[in-house]
Symmetry: none
Subunit: 201 residues, 4 copies
DNA sequence: ACGTAACCGAGACGGTACGTCAGGTCTTATC
DNA sequence: GATAAGACCTGACGTACCGTCTCGGTTACGT
């Protein structure tokens, strides 16, 4: 996803400055948070970063590529340690994701992602295959691990449960105003989902 | 949400043409579907609609306002007839919403809405209060109606179940590529949610 | 030159208001003095005159016609009484013209006239035939009257003398800043011209 | 009067292209002659010159400034060689000026100048001080050189004679239609002026 | 050690679209 | 049918960015 194709092998001439690279990305991120995606301009980034426009276009093909790359940086990784119980693990996952994304920048990243997916079914398909689906599998494998301990139904569709959870998190994140208390509803939502795949008892 | 503030009472001068108004909105919607939000220009709309730019700016303050207003038109209303059982009613609701929004235009509307909400916590709050919350209540009141018939838990948090469902639908809509089969996963998801609020039996 | 073609004979309906007509012309003249030709707009005139734009366009074909008509009003007529000597008569003529035109409005009128003449050789020709030439003749006939009394050369080209005088006046008017003393140089200039057509003594 | 303020000393960034500068001015002049001052548009100039609008507005603050600068270029300089006699020298001067200005462009320049002077007494004053007066002095010094040779009156007001001549030329230029024969009336006018300042003999 | 190719900041380049304003026409309701 | 108001289409205004190109100047490699 990065474009720093920099002097890989038989490079001649002055190599690209990593400092400049970082500077541009950081400034972009900063301005993204300050003025939003719509009003961000390359000229603005260049000036605030004290950098020539050419140094930006040398690294990224256009404004979109830069923004995507800048936002890419704040993408959360979840390799959470197990809590020993399903609800705990899922909550840990959700909570970590929410903490990372429940910021102006995080929301902008998500909304940009969504509008990108909405704009091209091709990208949509690729993203689903390479990101969404693996993430779903990751979550559903966690759930699967607790199949016996938590007395889940034999025929419980864990993938569906994962989707349900991701959708719930996204919805809370994107639609609920920042003032609302996400944490407790996250807990409750997870509880309900887990109950939905548990044996009737 | 509409800007056609004319002829209200003691109007003087030539009244604004409703034909022109419709023409602009329709053309906007058409072009939105054809070229997407990013590449839509007012000049394009004016030319294709056979209308002066002034006639657009007389009604809408800027490009964003026009786009929002145009997309507003395809907002789905759900006053579905009852099917006699909870799963059926919820599915009807979800299915109707999905049918309306599972189009390029519908997705663009949603993604625009999301990026707007992401951009301003003030708008976010207002939208939550005036649209999301009422919608949630509408759904949870439907669920509530079946509390006895469907043997739901006494302490079942129906609002939460509604949120779970809306989130699930949105996620399916926005992240799943158009090729996937939404309908069956919709059915299954609803089933799981309903199970999550049903008495253990 | 006026366009008030108003209900001359078998008029039907409401007759055009002379009050409106005057109002428009006066306002135009007032605004011409206030903001200048370049920045004058019909919308401005209509609003300040408390008149609909249609009422203006009903009377004048376009902005230029209105401006020309408005400025036409301040055109000086010179039917001056004779002073009994050539210098006196010519000075009276010049002085009267200068007094009328040595105002912001008068200068604007002249400069508008000049730019009109510069823009079309057809208009230029017509104006020369219908205005300049007759005026020249008028002046030269005044000079001619004094041929004997003032001992002018038999072969003196009085038409040329008239042109010389008009040109001199125009130049003083249009190029000399308002602060300069026009009157005395007018007197001197006339003296010199008269000397140029007088017998060597 | 020129706005090509670039590369003066510590210039940074790409320097402004002189080719572009010339191109714009030439195109402006060409279009000025083709369509006239009133109908000239910046967009037209940009398109015809194959230039972005920004490149024009980078150099000139607005349309007027560009037009003034373009017309400035055709301003005549008169450093004529002496003919050995007053009439000849003056005719040479006048003829040269007339030849340069007796074109659509020249007339437009003069009429634009006049309307500018009419619009602001401040500009009028400055122009008088910096252009008209020096020009007058230039001419009157030429006349003065012949004071003895041509037997001019001791008290002849040579400045006035110069004004008389300039006014005459302007008048012929601006009011006489292009079809008329300027040259011979120029000669005659000069003759009359010279006679007006010569000793009675 | 040194030439040179690719870098750097700055900013001009040809474009496109913005939102505004005015020109001249057309459409209301009112007089 | 004239009037005041104001909407209509057209098209230019001057501004802001886009992505590219061109300066003078600066590295750091490869010879």
């Amino acid at each position: 996803m990065d474009s720093n194709q920099n002097n890989v092998s038989g490079a001649r001439g002055r190599p690209r400055s990593n400092e400049v690279h970082r500077n541009i990305l950081d400034t972009t991120l900063y301005l993204l948070a300050e003025v939003g995606v719509e009003k961000l301009s390359i000229e603005m980034v260049a000036q605030r970063a004290g950098v020539g426009k050419a140094s930006i276009y040398r690294r990224w093909a256009n404004k979109e590529a830069l923004i995507v790359d800048a936002l890419e940086q704040i993408k959360p990784e979840f390799n959470m340690p197990s809590q020993g119980n399903l609800n705990g693990d899922l909550y840990e996952l959700a909570s970590h994701f929410v903490q990372r994304m429940n910021t102006p920048l995080g929301k902008q990243m998500l909304s940009l992602l969504i509008s990108t997916l909405a704009g091209s079914s091709q990208i949509s398909e690729a993203f689903w295959e390479n990101h969404s689906l693996p993430k779903t599998k990751e979550i559903s494998s966690i759930i699967d691990r607790y199949r016996q301990n938590e007395r889940l139904s034999e025929d419980a569709n864990v993938d569906l449960a994962a989707d349900l959870m991701i959708g719930f998190i996204m919805y809370q994140l994107l639609f609920k105003p920042p003032t609302e208390d996400l944490d407790s509803s996250l807990k409750q939502g997870i509880e309900m989902i887990v109950k939905g795949i548990r044996k009737p008892d």
